[in-house]
């Protein structure tokens, strides 16, 4: 669990960390679309360059990113291999056996998939590593504000999201504690056959659910005791302000996108 870095925050002080979470969220989302627009090797090279530049300016070491990719390796490898073996005929055929083909088109396709995977994971990891979960929640709710017009309770949703994020580390700690206690009572987590493994999680899940429900009840009592009502318009403790560096980042990003589109095969 501890080498799974996706979804964790790494407190550093870099320009990427200081960016407005809204601009980071929007940028990551646009980046996702842009990655799928690229189709020539040069356009991919430009995106790789942009990604590396973003990682470098976050002051987080590249090695840390690569280590964090390891849990995703199987997923990536599987997709690449499927793409390689089952892609439609096209170009030179290198290998053929019943329904399996390795063709030139397949090679290119799997290469493209690999790069896309890498770029998207890198960028979204950068987002979560450089943004505090609560900032992500604030940013999301601020971006969702227009949905109020269609009577979606944005504030309540934002509160739920913030509480959920707030309790992730608490419940993780709780889970570690309970696992330790059950290990000391002779449970082997993650060992033995599938059924034995599944069974070994009952002594973890039951107490974890109990404590989560107790916590939820305590929290709601505490919130009500302090006068929380979900219908009223709430002010924010964290106020997001769009800074010059956000504008600058977007200018750079749009320039990169423009260059990328120019080198794209149309």
């Amino acid at each position: 669990m501890s080498n799974f870095i996706f979804g964790r925050y790494l407190p550093l002080n870099s320009i990427v960390h200081r960016l407005d979470p809204r601009s980071k969220l929007l940028l990551s989302f646009c980046y996702l679309i842009v990655v799928f627009l690229a189709n020539s090797w040069l356009s991919y090279a430009i995106l790789i360059g942009f990604t590396l530049a973003a990682i470098l300016s976050s002051k987080i070491s590249l090695g840390f990113f690569l280590k964090g990719l390891r849990p995703m390796l199987w997923l990536i490898a599987f997709t690449v291999v499927v793409q390689l073996l089952f892609s439609p005929a096209g170009g030179h055929v290198y290998f053929h056996w019943t329904i399996l083909n390795i063709t030139q088109a397949g090679l290119v396709n799997s290469g493209v998939i690999f790069i896309r995977f890498l770029l998207i994971i890198m960028m979204s990891t950068l987002l979560t590593l450089s943004t505090q979960p609560l900032d992500i929640a604030t940013g999301l709710s601020s971006l969702m504000k227009p949905l109020r017009w269609v009577r979606i309770p944005v504030d309540t949703l934002a509160m739920m999201l913030a509480i959920a994020l707030r309790f992730v580390p608490t419940l993780m700690d709780e889970a570690t504690k309970i696992m330790n206690a059950q290990r000391a009572r002779g449970v082997d987590f993650g060992e033995g056959g599938l059924i034995k493994q599944a069974k070994s999680f009952i002594p973890l899940m039951v107490p974890l659910f109990m404590s989560a429900f107790n916590r939820a009840e305590d929290l709601s009592t505490a919130m009500e005791a302090r006068g929380y009502r979900d219908s009223e318009h709430r002010s924010q403790y964290r106020i997001l302000t769009w800074q010059r560096r956000d504008t600058m980042t977007w200018i750079v990003f749009l320039m990169v996108v423009a260059t990328m589109l120019a080198t794209r095969r149309w």
Partner: protein, 290 residues
């Protein structure tokens, strides 16, 4: 079972940017049938330290010996089950480990994991219920309908049912009422005396340290300041003040009397010792009680 720590160090998330050292160069020995208390402020590494003893956390450097088991940074998980069978661990707020449908099955869970037959485990569960001061009528009830103090007892029974030779207690009385506290500590002491259990107690209650422990280890910022008898540790007022630890109430009282001229042969640490020495100083006072 004797326990030996040799230059043990532990770092959380070693090898990542989040690495935080928690223990450094810890060496001490607890003899077989010993009773060691570990004291120190929150965050001083007490809980990290005790988790090394049954290898829930493995040392980053150094070596731990528990009887003939050796734990080093290279120890693999496969070798640990026999060790954990002998080292019972009562965590802080152990009631959070309860999960079974009935109390009996929850207590029998540990022994069964270590290969005890269902029948014997159930029998042990009934015995342990009595040991922790609950009667057999509890056996078929759900652990979740009990009071906090009763849940604590059931959880402790679940650890005792494994019949460990070493019992590690991490603030076992936190959150209990004074009477429950007293009963629990008396129970642990009885197990220590009668069955020869080696006990390691993490606590903030200096009275318990004075009353039960053979030796006390003082932790500060991941380091072991000292490991000596409670008498040695609490008797040196300057050392106690410099290392920022609390002393038992009786000792505090005795020290204040000391400032007013009362001479102690040996600083009394418990109320009983204090009373005895006072009676010796003023023989007339004892007579009035009889």
């Amino acid at each position: 079972m004797a326990i030996t720590f040799e230059h043990v160090g532990y770092t959380y998330q070693a090898g990542t940017p989040m690495a935080t050292p928690a223990l450094s160069d810890i060496s001490f020995t607890v003899p077989d049938h010993g009773y060691l208390a570990i004291i120190g402020h929150t965050g001083s590494g007490k809980s990290t330290l005790i988790q090394q003893i049954n290898a829930l956390l493995k040392p980053t450097t150094g070596k731990i010996t528990v009887d003939d088991f050796t734990i080093t940074p290279q120890t693999t998980n496969a070798d640990l089950k026999p060790l954990r069978r002998h080292v019972g661990m009562v965590f802080q707020f152990p009631e959070s480990q309860l999960f079974e449908e009935t109390i009996q099955r929850d207590i029998a869970f540990g022994p069964q994991n270590f290969g005890v037959s269902e029948e014997e485990a159930n029998q042990r569960a009934l015995d342990m219920l009595k040991t922790v001061g609950l009667d057999e009528s509890f056996a078929d009830r759900s652990p979740f309908e009990l009071s906090g103090g009763q849940m604590r007892r059931v959880a402790i029974a679940g650890v005792l049912a494994m019949q460990p030779k070493v019992l590690i207690l991490d603030e076992p009385t936190a959150g209990l009422d004074p009477q429950g506290r007293q009963e629990m500590m008396t129970l642990f002491n009885r197990l220590h005396q009668e069955q020869g259990l080696t006990i390691i107690l993490v606590t903030h209650q200096m009275e318990d340290v004075a009353a039960y422990a053979d030796e006390v280890a003082v932790m500060q910022a991941g380091k072991l300041l000292t490991c000596a008898t409670p008498q040695e540790v609490f008797s040196d007022p300057t050392w106690v003040q410099n290392s920022d630890i609390d002393v038992p109430r009786a000792a505090k009282f005795a020290q204040r009397l000391g400032k007013r001229g009362v001479k102690w042969d040996q600083l009394p640490l418990t109320a009983d010792q204090l009373a005895d020495q006072l009676v010796q100083h003023w023989p007339g006072m004892g007579g009035q009680h009889e």
